[in-house]
Symmetry: C2
């Protein structure tokens, strides 16, 4: 019974995600869903990404949190349009669903943007199950979280099209095997690129920015 | 409709949690539920805790993960009885529920233990909603996760009886305001103690071990 209802919720989400996908295709907006545990550095990475993008690609951001507008406030300082979703208005949801994205898009002029970045609720489990109509998904794993997380939370790494190992400036102070972490990611999902980043030093940002720009360009061409 | 069913699931969990609580009371077992994001250092902290406990308090551990037995393998090396729950057999649940604990307890001789530690699935959101019949709850937040997490994930900090700030040996390499983190925890839950720990250096372990031992002793006396 319980399982049947969960199935129905996921089916309803899937239907709305397809409608979102159609809407984003019509508007020519590339949508990127960024997920991770709490505190892996998603917001900091996005702030730096938006600064580097400048006015090159018109961008908007949807930020999901259960409570607070902390992340939106930080992102808005870059001058980019930011819509904050607090899921405590949606039952305290531990993820963003397609209906929440639909609602947030009412506050964004989609005709004016080419790139929509969604910063999901900090959770390495549930957001992986909910399609929102995005084009690509990414997962951020900080090097302080241990090498084994891809094996312990495989669904997240399986549904993503890229992964980031963040906070690599901390590597000298950790007992952390970066190569093992990359290997574990590619054990779960052999084909995805893994970008090793430090927002503090800027290391690795060029490769990640190039990937992102290529994705946006490919959508605009198609 | 959806909400009603979620309500029913939570009610069923609550009923079974009360039955578990009764069972633990009869057996004189103090049950401690430890929660956190993935990678905050729960397992490492528990391994060190079990080593320090030695044979002083007969202990067993239930470890929840979606996949793998990595954590159980590490904990079992301390010689303590460990039961691993893989929630992929329970629909890939993002938390441990009362029914899962009931099942795990069939594999533990509760008459022989005074302390049962439950290491929950790594998730700062969902586990907070599920009572398992435990006596006390704790949350671990590593200092690499940012100071604002208690404000962004308030339910977790609200339902807990203690909090740990872990990995404090990394403080010299981070822009992290430890006092602000403690303040944010106590904004959400004014009365809980916050233990600042480093498993690497052992700093802070005495205070945490004393708290734990006092809790077990109080239950045995009552």
């Amino acid at each position: 019974m319980e399982v049947k209802v969960v199935r129905r919720v996921l089916d309803a989400n899937e239907t709305m995600a397809q409608e979102n996908r159609q809407m984003f295709a019509e508007k020519g907006v590339f949508v990127f869903n960024l997920m991770s545990s709490p505190g892996s550095g998603k917001t900091t990475m996005l702030v730096e990404t938006l600064k580097r993008l400048g006015s090159e690609i018109p961008t908007a951001v949807i930020v999901g949190d259960i409570c607070t507008t902390n992340d939106a406030d930080r992102l808005a300082q870059t001058g980019v349009e930011v819509v904050q979703i607090n899921t405590d208005q949606f039952g305290g949801d531990c993820h963003l669903g397609a209906h929440v994205i639909r609602r947030a898009c009412q506050d964004i002029n989609l005709d004016a943007v080419d790139l929509l970045i969604v910063e999901n609720v900090g959770n390495l489990v549930c957001p992986a199950e909910f399609d929102m109509g995005e084009d690509r998904r990414g997962v951020v794993l900080s090097v302080t979280e241990g090498e084994d997380k891809p094996l312990k939370y495989p669904l997240m790494f399986r549904v993503c099209d890229m992964a980031v190992l963040s906070k690599i400036d901390l590597l000298p102070y950790l007992d952390y095997d970066k190569d093992l972490a990359v290997k574990n990611i590619n054990t779960v999902n052999p084909n995805i690129p893994v970008f090793c980043l430090s927002t503090r030093t800027g290391e690795g940002f060029e490769a990640w920015m190039e990937w992102l720009k290529n994705q946006v360009a490919a959508k605009n061409k198609s």
